[in-house]
Every structure is written in structure tokens, then in C-alpha cells.
């Protein structure tokens, strides 16, 4: 722990020496908004907990936030629906999180930037050149690849999306695949993947941190940026290169309906009496037991709700190939009726055989549990 702290402090010292890009750290912004130093430290404490650090690191998080304006960010749009950008714009409570968005230097982001056409392309080229080795690259969307790279071109030179990713990733300080599409190919990569859409990690040889979710919560994005500022390294990752601090627990582990599951109380069909009473959604397809994400803890839109609260099961949107492996989305996995990709066996053909094996066993166990619950009634 002491060593880690020293490392962080050294990292912050080096960041402090970088020239400031513009006015206003997050702290200045807060004070401008009428927040006090005390509010700021409270916020830093909350963020420290959110990214899974012991509270002793809170002052370091606060200092990192004061330095955050020194981080240029380039955000590229590939084959996508823009939902990830939208998610980022929504920002979670407290709304001051949004200030990280405002107070990093967003050099290129097509949904927000004023410049278009040639001027937009200039902005991208200038940023890559000016902040060589310093900028964070965030990519949203799957990337058409192979001979069909031209399913996406951007800019007056008709540059393919894949080429944009390769160029921008060359000199990035850190690379984040934001959302399930850039992490795993996403919806356009679902069978039969007509555009040969690929994850960012298949396009660049540089290490990529996956921040999946359709869309991912903005907290998961911001937490990663803070992690980078603090450590100057990539966060600890799971088998799918997802940061463990955000994707370390199953939805099921902290679900508000977990007690119902344990009691064997299940919604049998949408709109039934069990649905009105908040029974477990496993039998109407909830994939919470197979899905690693923090939705059940963080929720969405300033903690307003999340799918299980709204009576709809988790669809497993932060897992690889979930469109093909988790369907039918409104039936339990072990009741699979329709064949999907890989002959209906799901994600078994992907890299991580071991964890999927474990999940399959869990699936059987859960189905047995559900059956026992029903028998008890």
C-alpha cells in the first residue's frame, strides 16, 4: 500500500509538470459552481470508493481531479448508435461528475464539436500531432474490417474508420474501447455479422481497455480515466480486459431481488402478481447471474432506476457476443429454444473457455434452484 501510494504521488508530480491546457481544474469548476472545499473532498472520497481504492487515497484522487484538465481526449465514432456518447452526456449523480467531461480537453468528438468537414479533420490531425503520447483515445462503435473496411469512411479523404483507429492509436497514452461495440463488436457483429464488424482490440496492436455495456455507465468511463491519472498504468483487468473494479461482480451478486431468488419467488410472466410484488426475474430471462457489471449497485441516470428495478431482466449487455449467446432474452438461458451462433452453445468458442465453463455450471445450478423454489410452493 505504501509503495502504491508513492507510485501515485510520483505520477501526480510528473503530471503536474505538464503544461496546463486551459483554465480550471475540476476543483476550480466546483468552486465556481458554488461548491466548497469540503464538498470537493466529499466528492473525491466518493470517487475513491467508486474505483475501489481504500479511503487513504482520497487526497490523491482529489489532487488527480485538480490535474485532470491536462488530459487531452480524442473520441472516435465507428459503426455505432451514439448511445455511449449520449450516456456520457447524461452523467451520473452527483452531476459534478460531468465536469470531468467538461474539464478534460475534448479535442475531437463528432457529436459535440462545432467544426465540421475540413475543419473537423484539421482538429483531429492537430490533436494527434500536438499531444503525441499524451492523449487518451476513446473509441465508440464496432469497426468494419477486412476487405469490407469501406463500410465506414470518415472525412474528405474517404479514410476508413479502421484506418482512423490505427493512426490515432499509434501515439495514444491509453486506449479505451467505450461500449460493447468497440469492446466486442457489438450489435452489428451479431450473427451473421454482415459488415465484418470487429472490436478495437483486433484493429490495433496496442493494449485496449474494454469498457463494455450497451451503453456503459458514465461512472465506469470516468473511473477509468481517474485510474489512469492516478496510476499511469492500466487498471487490473479480467479475462475480457474489463477493469475489475467495475466488472468484478455479477449483477446477481448485489441485485435488489436477490432475496426473492433465494426464497424461490419468481415472476412467471410479465404483468403477473409476482411482477407486481417484485419477484425475481430469472424465469423471464434475467441474465444477471451470468453478467459482470455494477448496474445493480450504481444504477442509471442519477440512480433513478435500472432494468431489474423496471421489471425487465438483465440482457447481459456487457458480455461478449451477448446478442447471440444470451438469447432468447426473455427466457432462462438453460431453456434455450432457438439456435444461435456456434450451434447454440454460446460463447464457448471465444477465448475464455474456463470462465464460460464455470458460468454454464452456474446456469445449471440456478435452474435447479429455480425448480426447487417452484416445487416448494
Amino acid at each position: 500500500m505504501v509503495k502504491l501510494k508513492e507510485k501515485i504521488i510520483a505520477r501526480l508530480d510528473s503530471l503536474e509538470k505538464l503544461p496546463s491546457l486551459k483554465n480550471g481544474s475540476i476543483k476550480d469548476a466546483l468552486i465556481e459552481k458554488g461548491f466548497t472545499r469540503r464538498d470537493f473532498m466529499k466528492w473525491a472520497g466518493a470517487m475513491t470508493a467508486a474505483i475501489g481504492l481504500p479511503s487513504v487515497f482520497a487526497p490523491s484522487v482529489a489532487r488527480a481531479a485538480e490535474l485532470a484538465d491536462r488530459l487531452p481526449v480524442i473520441w472516435l465514432h465507428m459503426a455505432e448508435c451514439t448511445g455511449c456518447s449520449e450516456s456520457l452526456l447524461r452523467v451520473d449523480t452527483p452531476s459534478i461528475d460531468s465536469l470531468i467531461f467538461d474539464y478534460i480537453s475534448l479535442e475531437y468528438h463528432e457529436t459535440i464539436m462545432s467544426a465540421s468537414g475540413w475543419q473537423a479533420e484539421e482538429n483531429l490531425e492537430n490533436a494527434i500531432e500536438k499531444y503525441k503520447g499524451q492523449y487518451i483515445l476513446m473509441v465508440e462503435g464496432g469497426i468494419p474490417a477486412g476487405s469490407s473496411e469501406f463500410y465506414l469512411t470518415v472525412g474528405p479523404h474517404g479514410t476508413t474508420g479502421a484506418e482512423h483507429c490505427r493512426i490515432a492509436s499509434q501515439n495514444a497514452a491509453a486506449i479505451f474501447a467505450i461500449g460493447t461495440c468497440s469492446s466486442f463488436g457489438g450489435v452489428q457483429a451479431a450473427y451473421p455479422n454482415p459488415t465484418n464488424s470487429q472490436p478495437l482490440s483486433k484493429i490495433t496492436s496496442k493494449p485496449v481497455i474494454n469498457v463494455p455495456g450497451c451503453p456503459p455507465s458514465e461512472r465506469n468511463i470516468i473511473g477509468n480515466v481517474l485510474h489512469y491519472i492516478l496510476f499511469g498504468t492500466l487498471p487490473a483487468l479480467d479475462n475480457y480486459n474489463r477493469p475489475k473494479w467495475a466488472y468484478g461482480l455479477r449483477i446477481h451478486d448485489l441485485c435488489e431481488r436477490r432475496g426473492r431468488f433465494d426464497a424461490g419467488e419468481f415472476v412467471e410472466s410479465f404483468g403477473d402478481e409476482g411482477a407486481k410484488d417484485g419477484y425475481c426475474l430469472y424465469k423471464v430471462g434475467c441474465k444477471g447471474p451470468y453478467t459482470f457489471n455494477n448496474c445493480s449497485k450504481e444504477r442509471f441516470n442519477q440512480h433513478t432506476s435500472w432494468p431489474v428495478q423496471a421489471g425487465h431482466g438483465c440482457i447481459g449487455c456487457s458480455e461478449p457476443d451477448f446478442w447471440d449467446t444470451m438469447g432468447p432474452l426473455q427466457e432462462p438461458l438453460t431453456n434455450r429454444l432457438y439456435k444461435s451462433v456456434f450451434g447454440g452453445l454460446g460463447a464457448d468458442a471465444t477465448a475464455d473457455r474456463i470462465s464460460i465453463g464455470v458460468l454454464a455450471i452456474a446456469g445449471v445450478a440456478i435452474a435447479a434452484h429455480a425448480a426447487i423454489g417452484a416445487a416448494k410452493k
Binding site: E80, S114, Q119, P307, H312
Partner: protein, 570 residues
């Protein structure tokens, strides 16, 4: 000598869009081409899937109008299976639609479109006290326009500009000759730009109360809605109502007022007037607020003839691909459509860049194919859809919710009715639509409460999908960008076929076999571009449609070919 201007990417939109125009010696646009540079193929992916999964998949067409395709897909399946959802479910869906429109329209105006009218740099020289007085000219209750507040806005932005790094605001068209707001007016709009960033979070929460999250809500099921606990919880209803009122207040005091301000300031700017685009306007019934009542009605107006509103004949809708990167060029009905990708690429040419130099550029092969967007036609003619079509059709039909708002807006701005058929009108109609919803949407909440009080707590209809039966169904409705339809066939219990004809496909369509333009292209003809290196006028016009290009690119293949096997050779 004529010259070609390439604008790619068009930013501040959803998706990937390129516009090319040809201008003559006087800078007048003589020809225009708009094309999408992205293809995703979601309808191909829908095939063979469980019909209950596809609405969630279709939702991923767009993360901006994120509820539109979810609801459309769900209703298309319900229509195919012959399901009528319970009233509680329908009203809840209306409340979610209210949230979507009340989110989408202000965000479009302030975050995506306003900088086409507002010069941020000019706002820095404004007198905050004068600006405070100015704000009262457009509403009796200005929003975030006190001199002290405006001073703060100015100081914040000034500090930002002074440091020399404008981030996302860099390299814009500040000082362009077609900006017409005074420094004080720019400051008012800038204040609302920042306020909208906050308000849009509240509007997103409105969606999340019943929808779990926004973007990509997750509380619909074929047959109804799943959020029964939220519907039966008075605290949740109150939460929605309070947030609704907060956003409605912004729409009435800021959004409405700013459009009156823009209507006056831009009343004589030629680049935003006299450009209806395609004058065939289509809208469809939406917003059921009680058992039998809807806020907006259906209809088609052809050739700009407001005296006649026709009914839609579904059989007359087709899509063709003469100038789109698909193999089959023929016009086919959505139930029978087919296409395979056929990418033919760009051509090499020198065009003018931002510095005014002639440089190597890739340009559209305008004689051949040049877009991933197909050309939908109605009875062989292009249509314009969107808030302009919705408001004009409903005005022509004498809709009791629409007429008074339009009349008040025209009186407040002094603009004639004909001014509605323009870029300025398109932008104003979006606001008018948002205001109609903000003023009346809570009727659906009242109806929901009344219905629950009467003892009806059903939220989902029961149904079975018979694997031995074939089904066919569609959704037709109105979403933030205009008329939307989804068409499906179900066979063997799985989706055999799926097609979405979306607003941006209709508006952004390339030319058809007869060379007839879609609305984006048509509205650019005759436009004077003041500076070919800074084509602000083009961007302003295109933004007025609120382009949503990921929606517009889609493919279907009824022959059952696996498109994944096709290789495109470049």
C-alpha cells in the same frame, strides 16, 4: 467555373454523413449530393431471431432517439400477432415518448444546432444588463437571464476562450457573415445552451422512471410494459410529474423564447428561408393520451397544397437503390425489399479545402452509387418527414393542440405562415412540437391514474407465438425525426424478415432513377454559400433536419442469403 465543396464529416449529428455541393461563380448551389458513409446491416441480423428479442436489437439502431425503435419494433410484433396491449401499457409508452421528445428536441436545438445561429465569441462583448432587458422581449418570464447570471456565464466562457484552447469549440465558424444575433442575443442563447446540459439530464430521468435507463430503456415487452411496480407506485408517478414540469418550464421559457428571438433575427436571412426541400409532407398519429385521444393526427400533403390532407396508402411505399451501394436497384415495398451491398467507392478529384487550396479529395461518383441510404418513395415521389411535416399537416387539419401554438408563434415573431416551409420553419416546428407535448403530455399521466383508480392494474397482454403460423405486421408512427415504420414477417416462430423505413432515410435519400432528389439535397439547391472554405449555410440547413444517420442505413434480403458470406472487393 463551377466548384465542388465537400463537407465530411457533418458533425453534431448522429451517425456518419457526407454532403457535396456544386456551386457556380456566384457561390450558388446548382447541384447537391448527400450520402451516408456507414453501413451496419441490423435487419439482416434480425433474421432468424426470437421476435421478442428483435425490438431490443432494433433499439440499437439509434442511441439518440433511443426509445423510438424499441417501441416501434415491439408494436410491429404486436401488430403481427394481433395483440392489443392494455391501456396502462399504452399510456406508459406515451409517457416515455413524452420524455424522449422533451429530451431530444431541446438537445437538438441547443447542443447540435444552436451554434449554427449563435456566435459564442460575440457573446463575450455583450452587456449583461442590456441582455437582461432583451430577454423580456421574447417572454414574460425569461429563463436564466438575470444580469448577474449572464455575467457569470460570460466570465466562465471568457476565461475558457482566453486560455486559447477551445476544445470541442475549436475551429468553428465564428464571425461568419450569416450570423445575425446581437452580442446580447448570443449571450442569452449561450446561457440556455449551458442550462440545457443540465435540463437534458432531468429529461433523461423522466424516461428512466418507467424505462430503467436512458439511453436504451429496457421496460417493454411484447404485449405491454414490465415496469408495473413503478406504475403502481405513487411516489414514482410524482417523480415523473415533477421532472416533466421542470423540463416543460424550460421549453416554455427558454426554448420557445429563443425561437421567437431567432425568428425575428433571421427573418431576412436568405439562407434559412424559401427552401421547403421536398414539399410532400407525411406524418402519422402518435401520443395516445387517453382511451381514444391522440395529440397528433395522420396525413399526407402533396406538392405543398395545404388545402388537401390525404390518408396514407401503405401499399404505395417503396425503396429503391439506383444511387445507393446495394445491388438491386428496383423499387420494392418494405415487405418485399431486398438488397445486397455493392460498394463502388469514391472518385479522385481536387476540391477546395479549409485554407482555400485545391487539394486531392475523394468525391462521390455522382453518376453511379454514392450512399448507404436507399431512396424511399411514396407513389414514386419523395417525402419529407419530421416536425415540420407533423406540425404543418396537423395545422392544416385544424388540430386543437397544434393550431393555437402555431398561431401564437407566428404572432410573436411576425412571420407569415409561408415562412414555416423553410430551414427556419423546420427548426421552429421542432420547438412547437416539443411545446405541444410539454403543454399536454401530462394528460396521459392523469388517464393512467384514473384507469388504475378504476381497478385496472393490467400491464401486459398474454399471447402465444404459434410456430406453425405465419405472421405479418408493422408499426407506423411519428418519432422525434418524423414518420417511422417497421415491417416484419414471422415464420416458424422466428423473424423471417424485418425492415425499417426511417425518417432520415426518407429525408436524406439520394437521387432516384429519375434523378429526383430527397429533401436534404433539394433544400440546398439555390443556396448562396458566402465562403466556400467555411460552408456554415450548408451545415445549418442539414442540421435543421436533425440527421440521424445510423437509423438511415439498413439492409434486408428476403431471399435468405447470408449476407455475411458476401465479400466486397475494392
Amino acid at each position: 467555373m463551377s466548384q465542388r465543396i465537400v463537407v465530411d464529416p457533418i458533425t453534431r449529428i448522429e451517425g456518419h454523413l457526407r454532403v457535396e455541393v456544386i456551386i457556380d461563380d456566384n457561390g450558388i448551389v446548382t447541384d447537391a449530393y448527400t450520402g451516408s458513409t456507414l453501413w451496419r446491416g441490423l435487419e439482416t441480423i434480425a433474421k432468424g431471431r426470437d421476435p421478442r428479442d428483435v425490438p431490443l436489437l432494433m433499439q440499437r439502431i439509434c442511441g439518440v432517439c433511443t426509445f423510438s425503435h424499441y417501441k416501434a419494433g415491439t408494436i410491429a410484433v404486436e401488430n403481427a400477432l394481433g395483440i392489443t396491449p392494455p391501456l396502462n401499457a399504452t399510456l406508459t409508452r406515451t409517457l416515455m415518448s413524452c420524455a424522449l421528445f422533451m429530451h431530444d428536441h431541446p438537445v437538438h436545438f441547443y447542443q447540435l444546432h444552436a451554434l449554427d445561429f449563435v456566435d459564442i465569441v460575440s457573446a463575450l462583448s455583450a452587456d449583461p444588463f442590456k441582455a437582461q432587458d432583451e430577454a423580456f422581449k421574447y417572454t414574460d418570464f425569461p429563463y436564466a437571464c438575470g444580469a448577474d447570471h449572464l455575467k457569470g456565464v460570460q466570465a466562465k466562457v471568457k476565461a475558457f476562450v482566453d486560455k486559447g484552447n477551445l476544445g470541442p469549440f475549436a475551429n468553428a465558424y465564428y464571425g461568419h457573415s450569416t450570423y445575425h444575433f446581437t452580442p446580447e442575443q448570443n449571450l442569452i442563447a449561450l446561457s440556455h445552451y449551458l442550462e440545457c446540459l443540465r435540463i437534458q439530464r432531468v429529461a433523461a430521468q423522466m424516461m428512466a422512471v418507467f424505462g430503467a435507463k436512458q439511453p436504451h430503456p429496457q421496460s417493454l415487452c411484447v404485449g405491454g410494459v414490465t415496469c408495473v411496480m413503478d406504475i403502481l407506485n405513487p411516489v414514482r408517478l410524482g417523480e415523473y410529474m415533477t421532472k416533466f414540469q421542470e423540463v416543460a418550464d424550460f421549453i416554455n421559457r427558454a426554448y420557445y423564447a429563443d425561437l421567437v428571438m431567432a425568428g425575428k433575427a433571421y427573418a431576412n436571412e436568405p439562407s434559412v428561408l424559401n427552401d421547403v426541400g421536398v414539399a410532400n409532407l407525411w406524418t402519422h398519429q402518435e401520443f395516445q393520451v387517453s382511451k381514444n385521444e391522440f395529440l397528433f393526427e395522420s396525413g399526407i400533403i402533396m406538392n405543398g397544397d395545404l388545402s388537401k390532407v390525404l390518408d396514407l396508402d401503405e401499399s404505395k411505399l417503396t425503396e429503391e437503390a439506383t444511387h445507393a451501394w446495394y445491388k438491386n436497384d428496383k423499387a420494392l415495398h418494405p415487405y418485399d425489399g431486398e438488397q445486397e451491398p455493392n460498394y463502388t467507392g469514391f472518385k479522385d478529384e481536387k476540391t477546395i479545402n479549409a485554407q482555400g487550396e485545391m487539394v486531392d479529395t475523394k468525391v462521390f461518383d455522382t453518376k453511379g452509387k454514392y450512399s448507404w441510404i436507399k431512396a424511399p418513395r411514396y407513389d414514386g415521389k419523395p417525402l419529407q418527414v419530421g416536425p415540420l411535416a407533423n406540425i404543418v399537416v396537423n395545422y392544416a387539419k385544424g388540430n386543437k393542440y397544434v393550431v393555437p401554438v402555431v398561431d401564437k408563434f407566428l404572432a410573436d415573431t411576425g412571420l407569415p405562415l409561408s415562412a414555416v416551409l423553410s430551414t427556419l420553419g423546420r427548426t421552429a416546428c421542432r420547438m412547437i412540437e416539443a411545446k405541444v407535448i410539454a403543454d399536454n403530455g401530462l394528460m396521459a399521466l392523469n388517464s393512467l391514474a384514473e384507469n388504475i383508480k378504476s381497478g385496472d392494474t393490467t400491464t401486459a397482454a398474454k399471447y402465444k407465438i404459434d410456430k406453425n403460423k405465419e405472421y405479418k405486421g408493422r408499426y407506423i408512427g411519428h418519432v422525434p425525426r418524423g414518420a417511422l415504420s417497421h415491417w416484419t414477417r414471422i415464420k416458424n416462430g422466428v423473424v423471417e424478415n424485418w425492415q425499417a423505413v426511417v425518417p432520415s432515410t426518407l429525408n436524406a435519400s439520394p437521387k432516384d432513377k429519375d434523378g429526383i432528389m430527397g429533401s436534404y439535397e433539394a433544400c440546398l439547391i439555390g443556396l448562396k454559400v458566402a465562403d466556400p472554405t467555411r460552408p456554415l449555410e450548408i451545415i445549418r440547413k442539414i442540421h435543421s433536419y436533425d440527421p440521424c444517420i445510423a437509423c438511415a442505413v439498413h439492409v434486408m434480403d428476403t431471399k435468405g442469403n447470408k449476407l455475411g458470406n458476401y465479400k466486397v472487393s475494392i
